[in-house]
Every structure is written in structure tokens, then in C-alpha cells.
């Protein structure tokens, strides 16, 4: 049985930075008791390749990106009782320590927010059409898909 869809959903793809406090204020619809945020941060070091990173640049598939993220968010709203969800993903050039992605979920009971936020991030990593290219100062390399991310979504497949 599917839950009634009353969550306020906000999905944004933007080059601008975001402010978590402001985003949390917007999530305060329908008196949530709980807000869970995920913030992804650009790291300055690639452990797999043992290389430092000067910058990375993100491209995406406009139109499909929004559709995919909305599908994931809608699915999370069917699985958990949620009052509002915001997903922001930055594109363009980003530097180490920059914020890259925000997922904020508001709900009455905290476990719904924890699970839905985790679910949205896991699926976003495997489904949303973004691609990163890393610049170490000398050469640029496309980031390879991380198989950990395929493992991460398995916990949601029942």
C-alpha cells in the first residue's frame, strides 16, 4: 500500500553554493520534529589513486537529472512518512572543501528522515546523470564509477 503523497519536494541543479541553515528553514513545513541533512564535500585527495586534487568539474544531463532525482525522492516518499525533501546538486567547477550536494529530509519521526535521506543519497550516486572530471594540476581525469555505490543501494532492495 502506498502512502499519501503530501511532501513538498524541491530539486535544484545549480552552480551556486547553498546554505544548510537556510535550506533547513525552508524544510520546516507541516511541523516536522526531525530534519536530517546530508552534505557532500569535495575532498582534496583521491585515496584510490593516491593523488591530490586541485579542482573537479561536474557535468550533467539537463532534464534527465531532475527526472531521475524526482523519481528517487518520490519513491522515498512512498516508503517513509515525510513532510518535505530538498535535493541540491552543484555543477561546474568546484574546489576542495566546497559543498557539492545537499539532501534534506523533514519528518515527524526521526527514523523516517534518517532512512529517506540515506536512501536518496544512495540512489542519487548510482542513478543521477552527473559526471566528475578531476584536475590534479597537470592532467584531467574522469572519475570512475565506484562499485561501493552499487553495494550501498542493495540494502534498499527488498
Amino acid at each position: 500500500m502506498k502512502k499519501k503523497h503530501t511532501a513538498i519536494i524541491d530539486v535544484r541543479i545549480q552552480s551556486d553554493d547553498f546554505d544548510v541553515t537556510k535550506e533547513n528553514n525552508k524544510l520546516q513545513n507541516d511541523e516536522p520534529g526531525a530534519i536530517v541533512n546530508f552534505v557532500g564535500i569535495v575532498r582534496g585527495f583521491d585515496e584510490k589513486k593516491n593523488e591530490s586534487i586541485k579542482s573537479l568539474t561536474l557535468e550533467h544531463y539537463p532534464g534527465m537529472t531532475e527526472l531521475e532525482i524526482e523519481n528517487i525522492v518520490n519513491e522515498s516518499c512512498e516508503r517513509w512518512s515525510i513532510s518535505a525533501v530538498t535535493v541540491i546538486h552543484r555543477i561546474g567547477k568546484l574546489l576542495p572543501s566546497n559543498q557539492i550536494v545537499f539532501v534534506g529530509v523533514a519528518s515527524k519521526h526521526r527514523q523516517d528522515s534518517f532512512d529517506a535521506c540515506n536512501f536518496v543519497m544512495d540512489w542519487l550516486k548510482t542513478q543521477a546523470p552527473f559526471w566528475k572530471i578531476e584536475d590534479d594540476g597537470n592532467k584531467k581525469k574522469w572519475v570512475e564509477f565506484n562499485s561501493r555505490d552499487n553495494d550501498a543501494v542493495k540494502k534498499w532492495i527488498v
Partner: protein
Amino acid sequence: MIIKYFSWIREHVGKSEENFDLPSNVTTINELIEHLNGLNNQYKHAFAKRDLIKIAVNKKYSPFETKINNNDEVAFFPPVTGG
């Protein structure tokens, strides 16, 4: 049809998007890739590793066997790396 290319597939093909008249004998994604491969080595290079190619037809993930027609928007890209 519109064909879009992203990430290193875009770099190999040398363009991000093209308008393409689908020949009548090309009815699936598999056949489209074979057709493009016959045009030049850039396509051949781009499509060399099938297990690294994801396909979207009209902005939805689709398998290689998907039937296509001239009104579709087809996109080729590697596994995603956002977040």
C-alpha cells in the same frame, strides 16, 4: 533523432549532441551503435567498451535492445559519478 553524448564518450565522439536521421534499417540501440561505428573511428572508440556505456531513451535508462524511432532522444554516457 537527437543523440547526446556525455563525459568521455562526448570527448571520443567529439561532440555533445547531434541531429541524426535514423536510417529505416536501424530499429534498436544496438543497431544504432553498429551503424555509428561504421561511420568513423571516433564512434568506434567511444563505444568500444559496452559494459561502460549507459543508455537513456527519452531521458529514461534503457537497455541495448530498446526499439527506437526518429522522434526519440537518445543519450550515451558512462556510469554516473555525482554526489
